[in-house]
Subunit: 313 residues, 2 copies
């Protein structure tokens, strides 16, 4: 009979269609990007095989990722090795800064306000969309806003978006406390927080049963292979939700914010499987220079270092 | 034959219809508000008579101003004395802070931004109108903005407007220099600067000829009476334009701003007639306690004290 953990894994895989490229991105991001970012195609197939992804499926996916600029290929003899590109690595680092947070980002109460009134209609639509991906919400007709993130250089951003001339950029603080309530309502509405909360809720409902299963599991059941599979699916589904989240600061969120609950759940599960999962990848992965290097320091800073105690070798 | 100065005065009076209440407000504001704010109705009539405003016209006007809360009446025997009310005085002080500036207000580059998105439609319209009077411009659909004035307490203002709950108030600075040009264009458009400039232009065209006339006039022509009439009309027309001006800081205005040219012209003319005009009012005005008091210190701070040298007694 199938073990309950395998049942859980199979159920998670079946619950919604999983794109091969997206899953392989999750694998590179979570397990390889801090370990050189390169792997033999054969190892990749071996890692994914048990999850039901065949050799051909993996080949097709990495080929597509290569065309999209995420991966470079290197051939040695008859073997192909796929390595993250510079551009791919940059995108991973950016996504990672959101995925592996331990809590909502700190906030000094300031806002970045971008007035698009002067941009042409099509240009305005483009900017709204791009800024939306970057966590900006539309708080009035042509006014995009985001709580200021220390990391975000808005001026540089506007340069990258080719929007320096049409956009008026204000950095604002928010000195008038009486409208606090009004502001929260507006934030919930403009950032579609109930939609984001629903995605998190779905994640929580899917992965909460795993807590119980892991609590019941003894060492013989919690094999490195299962740990790897659990960790990959955990991060894959968490990533897909987090990247839809504007990651607003605590002060602007409801008191019981599903995002933080989901994050805490993810951290708890990650802690329990990370060490064995990492060992499993070490075991199976081959690179052009032999074994995978040990994870770099950045790896252990994930989730604010919370996952560290369990993952030190 | 009519002297050229009288001709100028008559022409200024005829060029556009003058409301009696508005002219009397100008007189109280300019000549009386720093000298106790009270005058006998008979003196008021005497001051205005030579400008072609009859006794009955003056009576009707002060009666209306009393009903509107600007003036209080006190009777002693058969004589009526009209005194500025508390409320009237407050409004005068507010208007005065705009009229008798020597230059565009200093600015630290900050903005007050008021987001009206949450207000109901009718309420929004009311607030836009009220804020417009206070120098705010609409820079996006439901976003009112004004360069921060050190004197303006926006939070208190929102309280007075009963708008604390619906309005979101940001104080912003403007750190991104590339959109400077865009900002100026927006300001010119949103504050209808070309319209304001046209009003100032009209004022300049009307009063510039007076410079020449005053230069040619010797002491015997420049009588206290004529000086009084000139000063009253000068401030009356200047006031009516200034109160339409959002009084934006220099940095946001065109390099050759008609507002500053008109202001400089007004200051130059004011300097030449102020002393004799003030003497004339002293001569004619009677109050419940006898002669008008000498002007208070605030009077000599007008136009940044620029008018002082000529007006010290």
């Amino acid at each position: 009979m199938e073990h309950k953990l395998d049942e859980f894994i199979r159920h998670a895989l079946d619950a919604q269609p999983i794109s091969g490229t997206s899953l392989i991105i999750s694998l590179y991001g979570d397990a390889l990007s801090h370990r050189g970012g390169e792997i033999w195609l054969g190892s990749l197939s071996a890692l994914l095989e048990a999850l039901g992804f065949g050799d051909r499926f993996v080949r097709t996916s990495v080929f597509r990722l290569q065309k999209e600029g995420w991966l470079d290929v290197e051939k040695m003899g008859r073997r192909s090795y796929y390595r993250l590109t510079e551009q791919g690595m940059r995108q991973f680092r950016h996504a990672e800064s959101k995925i592996y947070l331990s809590e909502q980002p700190a906030w000094d109460g300031k806002w970045d306000l971008l007035l698009l009134e002067n941009a042409e209609k099509a240009e305005r639509a483009r900017l709204k969309k791009e800024l939306g991906w970057l966590g900006f919400g539309q708080i009035a007709n042509n006014l995009m806003a985001a709580p200021t993130h220390a990391q975000t250089d808005v001026a540089a951003l506007l340069g990258e978006l080719n929007a320096g001339e049409q956009v008026i950029y204000f950095r604002a603080d928010y000195p008038y406390n009486r409208s606090e309530q009004t502001l929260r309502q507006m934030v919930a509405y403009c950032w579609s927080l109930s939609e984001v909360a629903a995605y998190y809720h779905e994640f929580i409902v899917s992965f909460r049963p795993l807590m119980m299963l892991l609590r019941e599991a003894d060492g013989s059941v919690l094999t490195p292979k299962r740990c790897f599979q659990i960790k990959l699916l955990l991060i894959h589904f968490f990533r897909r939700v987090v990247l839809k989240d504007p990651l607003l600061p605590d002060a602007l969120l409801p008191a019981q914010w599903e995002g933080q609950i989901a994050r805490n759940l993810c951290i708890n599960l990650y802690q329990q499987v990370d060490r064995a999962a990492t060992e499993y990848v070490s075991e199976l992965a081959e690179t052009t220079i032999g074994a995978l290097p040990a994870p770099g320091a950045g790896y252990y800073r994930r989730f604010g270092g919370l996952a560290r105690t369990h993952t030190t070798f």
